[in-house]
């Protein structure tokens, strides 16, 4: 086999490696995007559930579900993104702020008071959720800009 044939084969192999690498990167990006989209939908659910809880006429049983969602379930979703090498460290303070917005005041309490949509407690939930949601997008944009 002459040197020209060797060079040809090397180019073929290098080309294949490059295309394969690009495909893997694209697939991984799609996979992370899908997990992120599910996390965003989950945040939407938490927001709806939290507003419903605080605007109800009486304290409801959904406090348990809210705590479960704002602790393990949301954390698990961030952990999965972390395992896929997405840097979500900056999201944890926003997770804390969302948990505080929902569960620090008027929560799990015998002196529950129904809130109006214009009350600060409700506005704080919306803002905290938006900030966590935005930080998740920032993490993705930083990795795949």
């Amino acid at each position: 086999m002459g040197w020209t044939q060797i060079v040809t084969w090397l180019l073929v192999i290098l080309g294949w490696l490059l295309v394969n690498h690009q495909n893997n990167v694209r697939e991984k990006r799609k996979e992370i995007r899908a997990i992120l989209d599910k996390t965003q939908s989950f945040l939407d659910e938490i927001e709806v559930e939290a507003i419903k809880y605080h605007t109800s006429q009486e304290s409801s049983d959904s406090a348990f579900q809210l705590k479960r969602n704002l602790n393990q379930k949301l954390r698990n979703k961030l952990d999965i993104l972390k395992l896929r090498n997405l840097n979500v460290e900056k999201c944890y303070p926003y997770l804390k702020k969302l948990r505080q917005a929902v569960t620090l005041e008027n929560f799990d309490t015998s002196s529950f008071k129904p809130q109006n949509l214009s009350d600060d407690l409700i506005k704080n939930i919306w803002l905290a959720k938006d900030k966590l949601s935005q930080e998740l997008e920032n993490s993705f944009a930083t990795r795949y800009r």
Binding site: K67, Q72, R75, Y92, K96, T103, T109, S110
Partner: protein, 108 residues
Amino acid sequence: MNTITTTIIDIGKDFSRYPAGRYETDGPFSGELFRAKFLVPVLDSNGHVTIELDETAGYGSSFLEEAFGGLVRLGYSSTQIKNTITLHSEDPSLIEEIEEYILDAEQG
């Protein structure tokens, strides 16, 4: 020679898997009760405790604020609390939140 005994308190196993509420009037497993039953005795005995946070079904911030921030309102300093209580959780946001309540309570 004084020896400091370290105990481990697993909230999910030793207190409740479902901690909830700020005051005892809010429910049977409130932050106020947890503080009185587990944290205050350790601080008063100059012992040391490691609190395992991960075995519960989740926390409301009101529980955490009353249990830990409430210690400052009872007269314990943040330094004393820090030296006595070690927090353990896989969730960094939970530890950060508790530390925030202790500092906030001290700053009034």
